[in-house]
């Protein structure tokens, strides 16, 4: 198996997703089988350093002026209405550091 239980638990932590204990084994198996399948890419004779290019459109440096565009009052209202925690119109979250 490509992934161990511990590796899956570590991965879940990186993803900020809790896993139930019974899920860990199942995900380890499924992820391992998928990783084995995609491992077939090793068969291709590529020079990764040279040929790994992220761009598929051929577009380069699509820029615009750095001008702020606000949103409409309706959009703003809808956005604020959905804050899970708020203080007035301000978004509120838990602090990064505990006391």
């Amino acid at each position: 198996m490509v992934l161990t239980r511990d590796e899956v638990l570590h991965l879940a932590k990186l993803c900020r997703i809790d896993l139930q204990p019974e899920e860990v084994e199942k995900f380890a198996l499924q992820l391992s089988s998928i990783l084995e399948y995609v491992g077939k890419l090793r068969e291709v004779d590529v020079d990764v350093a040279q040929e790994a290019v992220a761009n598929i459109t051929g577009l380069e440096n699509v820029l615009r002026e750095d001008e702020p565009h606000g949103c409409t009052p309706e959009e703003r209202e809808r956005i604020v209405a959905q804050f899970p925690m708020r203080q007035g119109d301000l978004l509120k979250t838990r602090g990064v550091f505990s006391e």
Binding site: I17, K40, A49, S98
Partner: protein, 504 residues
């Protein structure tokens, strides 16, 4: 007034054969009658739909000119934002989310006074090939209620097939428009990457995602594409390059390529028979047909299942319960930050999104990024190059859309990989960025599977009109949707598959 096309409605409204309100009410009634069985819609927008229809009727009464889509009832996949209405992406993570703005494609439909009937069901965050991953309910294939409609845009495909809308928007990242179009016997277009703005599309994999139309005819698909395409300042990858006029003067000059790797093995014999017959029809139209090779075809799925989850892991990081959507903070405002992240995401995301986020995180992580992510990027360029080479010899490639017709619910079991393999013929177009059109080319006989009536009851097998659609896939050069439309329309004129409809 059944199975009206965009062309029928445009004609009927102008000649005052019926009103826009009547057409909209007709569709809303059919939704009310049939959708409880099918599950196509997650949210119906009756009030807005009727308001738009009445506006169109008022314009007609004033003798005004109408846009091509005026008064035409459409559906929108629930990963595409319509302001003020829910956008769940088929997930519990966005169960109470209300879209704050319109997707650019939706802005363009509204500008033509198209009637938006509602938001359609889909696999969660567009991840799936059967709509079984919807966190809400499955969608039933209108041709056989015991079978899947395909995915991830299953709701849109089934709604068009069952006359619950005239046409619809979906999104296609690895086949999510074309495959369900094939399974449901309708036309589905994945446009060239970048030809339709992705602003307002809930992002899955940003270098693969494309919004595209479902319709019942190629002409309707063209009308929809023309309405939604174009460069958008909100999407830096968008472009105006899709040409409206084909470079082909006649079909005699069209060169068709059959990629041999798409016929190697693993295709259902009935599907292959239907597709080969379609190729004979195409030859009969005067096109020259030859075999070509796309040597890296076998790596398409592997490239996709490394790069797509990698992009997913970045795009779904925003669902953290801080600004919108499901949030632990609503029940436990004092929960520490990390627990809020971990639990919100564990409860909001179903198994498939969690699987793909983890896969992508792994493929991008230190020590693995070179062998997975970067290697996949390199092979992606090889696949793109395969198509560039083929398109020097031919104009359009013809393949089956899927190796099999629609399968019964649960047939893929608990093995995600078998589901992934179903996309083998569609993924390469997303990997390379080229356009792909699926259109109906046959009906194959299978046993009708009846859905379980109650828990514990075994599925029954009946033998009423067991016919399942087969999709033919056309792929073309970047920004050459027009050649696909030209060939597709000629094929439609020579056949009647697009006139077949599922049983009531």
């Amino acid at each position: 007034m059944d199975y009206l096309t965009i062309t029928d409605i445009a004609d009927g409204l102008r000649r005052r054969l019926f009103s826009a309100e009547e057409v909209t009410r007709g569709h809303l009634s059919r939704i009310a009658e049939r959708d409880a069985d099918l599950g196509c819609y997650l949210h119906v927008m009756a009030d807005d739909a009727l308001a738009t229809a009445k506006r169109v009727d008022a314009a007609i009464a004033r003798g005004e000119d109408l846009e091509p889509l005026a008064g035409v009832p459409l559906a929108v996949k629930d990963v595409i934002l319509v302001a003020g209405h829910p956008a769940t992406a088929g997930s519990k993570m966005l169960e109470r989310y209300q879209a704050t703005y319109d997707a650019t494609a939706v802005v363009k439909l509204k500008a033509q006074d198209a009637v938006l009937l509602g938001k359609t069901n889909c696999d969660e965050f567009a991840m799936g090939s059967s709509n079984e991953n919807s966190a809400y309910k499955p969608v039933r294939n209108p041709w056989d209620h015991g079978r899947v409609p395909g995915g991830s845009s299953g709701g849109s495909a089934a709604a068009v097939a069952a006359d619950l809308c005239v046409a619809a928007l979906g999104s296609d990242t690895g086949g999510s428009i074309r495959q369900p179009a094939g399974f449901c016997g309708v036309v589905g277009l994945k446009p060239t990457y970048g030809s339709v703005s992705r602003s307002g599309l809930i992002a899955m994999a940003s270098s693969f995602d494309v919004i595209g139309p479902f319709a019942r005819t190629v002409a309707d698909a063209r009308t929809m594409f023309e309405a939604i395409r174009g460069r958008d300042p909100r999407d830096a990858t968008s472009s105006d390059r899709s040409t409206l006029n084909s470079q082909l003067s006649t079909l005699n000059s069209l060169k068709v390529g059959i990629p041999k790797e798409y016929f190697a093995s693993g295709i259902d014999p009935d599907v292959e028979r239907a597709v080969r017959e379609a190729i004979r029809v195409i030859e009969g139209l005067g096109c020259s047909v030859r075999e070509v090779s796309l040597p890296h075809t076998t790596y398409g799925l592997a490239v996709y299942y490394v790069l797509m989850p990698s992009e997913v892991s970045a795009n779904l990081a925003r669902f953290d319960g801080m600004r919108y959507g499901a949030s632990l903070a609503r029940e436990e405002p004092n929960a520490p930050l990390q627990r809020a992240y971990h639990e919100t995401r564990a409860h909001g995301f179903g198994p498939e999104p969690r699987r793909r986020i983890m896969l992508g995180t792994y493929a991008l992580s230190k020590g693995y990024a070179d062998q997975y992510y970067k290697r996949a990027l390199a092979v992606r360029q090889r696949i793109k190059h395969d198509f560039e080479t083929a398109f020097r010899e031919v104009d359009v490639l013809v393949t089956p859309t899927s190796p099999t017709p629609a399968w019964p619910f649960g047939a893929m079991g608990d093995d995600p990989l078998s589901m992934y393999l179903a996309d083998v013929f569609t993924v390469s177009a997303n990997v390379a960025g080229i356009p792909g059109l699926s259109l109906p080319c046959g009906l194959v006989e299978r046993e009708t599977i009846s859905p379980p009536r109650s828990e514990g009851e075994r599925e029954g097998v009946q033998s009423l009109t067991p016919r399942l659609p087969v999709g033919l896939q056309l792929m073309g050069r970047w920004f050459d949707e027009e050649s696909l439309f030209t060939l597709g329309e000629a094929y439609e004129q020579a056949t009647t598959w697009h006139k077949e409809h599922p049983p009531r």
